[in-house]
């Protein structure tokens, strides 16, 4: 029981951190601060993954998102907005009324979703890899077997997706043919 209590506390802290940091991310004027808050968000998400016994996903989250992707985002921001000009501009050129109505829509949708999640019993089928099975198999091993076994076909197509992305990056950024 004590363990569950501890997990619950960790979850609440991580979840609040996700919400607060993502709110801060969207409201910061300085793009670098936004990016740094986003890293905090990713981190808190990784903690939630850990609570779900998904160590591999947690580590991958940190490695891929907080590590590689955010690094590149920061890199781009630094290269592009060295003159701090981007900070001065008004980011949402909308009238107050429009802004408020958008905000209202978003809030209503979020609240609705929250109620839906709280008051309706999920009727989902239990997957074939509950936490215990994963723990006994080892996380990376389970992932590997799924990726290279059951999901081999989408996995291979994803490699083509990456190839297409690389071609695009090269062909669009090349200056002269």
């Amino acid at each position: 029981m004590g363990a569950i209590g501890f997990k619950f506390v960790v979850f609440i802290v991580a979840a609040l951190l996700v919400i607060v940091s993502s709110l801060l991310m969207t409201t910061r004027k300085n793009p670098i601060h936004s990016a740094l808050w986003m890293i905090v968000t990713f981190f808190a998400m990784a903690v939630i993954y850990l609570l779900l016994n998904a160590q591999f996903i947690a580590v991958a989250q940190i490695m891929v998102y907080a590590g590689a992707i955010m690094m590149l985002i920061l890199f781009v921001i630094m290269m592009v907005s060295l003159d701090n000009g981007a900070q001065e501009q008004k980011r949402f050129p909308m009238a107050m009324g429009t802004r408020l109505s958008w905000a209202l829509v978003v809030v209503v949708l979020l609240v609705e979703l929250m109620f839906a999640a709280l008051f309706y019993q999920a009727t989902a089928k239990v997957g074939s890899y509950p936490a215990e099975a994963v723990a006994s198999l080892g996380n990376a091993k389970t992932m590997g077997m799924l990726l290279y076994g059951k999901y081999i076909f989408p996995f291979e197509i994803a490699s083509i997706l990456l190839l297409v992305g690389i071609i695009g990056a090269v062909v669009l950024s090349r200056k002269n043919k």
């Binding site: 300085n30 591999f56 991958a60 907080a66 590590g67 690094m71 590149l72 920061l74 890199f75």
Partner: protein, 323 residues
């Protein structure tokens, strides 16, 4: 002795003792390494190096540390304060994490995580992140250029680093560092994976921003790169982190390629430290032997040589394992 080991087995105690030990180790390690670096540098240039303070100048680093601690922490105007202060602190996150999972001896490991090496690699990018924060927060062009170089460098070298370790992981079938060490009971992986070892070590030197890959802090062009604006204790933190990182990459190299803590006669921890410090010495040796590479050379080495090579290595490893 056994009593102590038993107490150490309790999770919380283990963690607390571990953290304390890590802090002590970080400081002591940095003190020794600064002294060693100056001694090595001196002898390589036919000088003697520090010799006035204490026997062989051994107390010199302590004197330096006292001097740094006594200095004023200057906050330049117009810096981005939260980022400026967080930078040097953040640089210690990956250090702490790495010490948690590295097995110093068969029993000297704070926690054996089944994705251990991934944890180290995931957090190692935080070194770059804090360099970035320092560079951006300082509001200084040298700092910024230094940190931008640092990102380009780490993006380029993280790939061969990962791929070379992957070759070893394919042979051990485990991401846990302990399993990797145990798998080297018979023969060290440096003999089975010489190419991976060389790739890893080059990439590791680049990751620690050491000469010949020290472009982010190239004194001769960028003043001091990303830590130009830092003074006193804050500067000391970067300094500590650099030496600790040198030790960590050496420790990972030892774990993956040089049999970890295993060796005859002496206790494991001694072997581990001996091997690690030997590699640290090699890195110092590099510094006084090789000139700094140009930036385009730096990127070309990684993208055009190390990455294809490590892919081929991976392919060959996979093929041989299947046979």
């Amino acid at each position: 002795m056994e009593q102590i080991l038993k107490i150490l087995d309790i999770e919380g105690v283990r963690l607390a003792v571990g953290l304390l030990a890590v802090f002590l180790f970080v400081v002591v390690n940095a003190l020794i390494l600064t002294w060693a670096e100056r001694k090595v540098a001196g002898h390589m240039q036919l000088r003697i190096g520090p010799k006035e303070v204490g026997p062989y100048g051994l107390i010199q680093p302590l004197a330096d540390a006292m001097k740094l601690l006594g200095k004023e922490i200057i906050t330049p105007r117009n810096v981005d304060k939260p980022i400026f202060y967080l930078g040097p602190i953040m640089i210690f996150i990956p250090v702490l994490v790495a010490f948690v999972v590295i097995p110093f001896d068969s029993y000297l490991q704070v926690r054996d995580i089944n994705v251990g090496i991934l944890v180290i690699l995931a957090f190692s990018s935080f070194t770059v992140l804090s360099i970035l924060m320092a560079g951006w927060g300082s509001n200084n062009k040298y700092s910024l250029i230094g940190s931008i170089r640092s990102i380009a460098q780490s993006v380029a070298y993280e790939i061969p680093l990962l791929l070379s370790l992957l070759a070893v992981i394919m042979m051990t079938n485990s991401l846990s560092l302990k399993d990797v060490v145990v798998a080297q009971k018979g023969i060290w992986f440096i003999f089975l994976q010489p190419v991976a070892f060389i790739i890893y070590f080059i990439a590791a030197v680049a990751e620690t921003n050491r000469t010949p890959f020290d472009l982010p802090e190239a004194e001769s062009e960028l003043v001091a790169g990303y830590h130009t604006e830092y003074s006193g204790m804050m500067f000391a933190l970067f300094f500590l982190a650099e030496y600790t990182n040198m030790f960590i990459v050496s420790a990972i190299t030892v774990t993956f390629f040089l049999g970890g803590y295993q060796g005859p006669f002496l206790p494991g921890i001694v072997w581990f430290l001996l091997k690690s410090y030997f590699l640290v010495f090699v890195m110092m040796w590099f510094r006084w032997t090789f000139p700094r590479v140009r930036f385009d050379q730096l990127l070309n080495i990684s993208w055009k040589a190390l990455i294809p090579l490590s892919f081929i290595n991976l392919l060959v490893t996979g093929g041989l394992l299947k046979l």
